[in-house]
Amino acid sequence: MNISLCILIINRGIFMQRTIKEAFKASIPIMMGYIVLGMAFGMLLESKGYGVIYALLMSVFIYAGSMQFVTINLLTSGATLLSTALMTFLINARHMVYGLSMIQKFKDMGKRKPYMIFSLTDETYSLLVGSQTPEGCDEKEYLFFIALFDQCYWIIGSVMGSLIGSMISINTTGLDFAMTALFIVIVVEQFLSSKQHVYTYLGFIVSICCLIVFKADAFIIPSMIGIIIGLLVMYKGGQRDA
């Protein structure tokens, strides 16, 4: 009785070890990106006078790449909580699409489900959506560890960036451009991989008009409202495929 129990426990251990190993392998493509981008985030945050605790707090509890960069701006410009909430909602609205396509996959995740939902970033989504659980692995654990490894990379990167930024004095003038570059890359990528560019044009036109009319400090909320109205008009107009 005791021996068979021991064998069961050992077997379970080997099984888990294999699952963790496979999940780690699957997460490697994200590792470089998250560590390097996380470091840029940490350094930028540190250069604005927010130390390693802030980097850690944000990467543990917010855990959203582009939004964390925007949060640095919100912090330094002293944005109101309401405009912060609005901005966060719209920037992260794309997560709703990810969620929609994960409802089935996360159905039986049990007690890991809340973490799976919390940690559903663009990159983790891209891994999970195409994931095939390798033979001899527990699917639930496999998906969970992929998500967990990804967040670890992001946390390690941002903490490292913050520490490096505080120890070595580098002239960080212009480092802010990393955020601009990140968004430009996303737009170019969207532009190259989609045939319908009308939504991108709408975003540029509405926000540039609002920038001219409302000026730099107040244009973001009118832009967001304008974009939503524009998109809804286009929906009514029957333009549906992206």
């Binding site: 929609l100 969207q190 709408l202």
Partner: protein, 104 residues
């Protein structure tokens, strides 16, 4: 204190956007929400580029020369190499060199 509250708001709303589909659409989906979720990222990302460049003054100072060089480098790098990290860091380094060395 405001800083911490702001982080709490960002964290809370981010979680909300991630959890909403699981809370609302276990069975049926709303076509308008689905449509917005699909197309909003295109417009919002364009808006964020404008947001990042909102402080650029084309009419005085350096006339945004470094920004123009930086944006062009990122776009060209990405179109030709299609490597996200290379585009971001290549562009950022070019921009940093421009603001730190050429235009002090």
């Amino acid at each position: 204190m405001h800083d911490l509250l702001l982080i709490v708001v960002v964290a809370g709303v981010t979680l909300l956007t991630r959890a909403l589909p699981f809370l609302l659409f276990q069975k049926k989906t709303n076509p308008v929400i689905e449509y917005l979720g699909e197309v909003l990222p295109y417009s919002i990302m364009a808006m964020l580029v404008v947001y990042c460049l909102k402080g650029v003054d084309l009419l005085s100072g350096n006339h945004g020369i470094c920004e123009i060089i930086g944006v062009l480098s990122v776009v060209l790098l990405h179109v030709f190499k299609r490597n996200t990290l290379l585009s971001i860091f290549g562009g950022t380094i070019i921009y940093m060199l421009c603001v730190q060395i050429i235009f002090i």
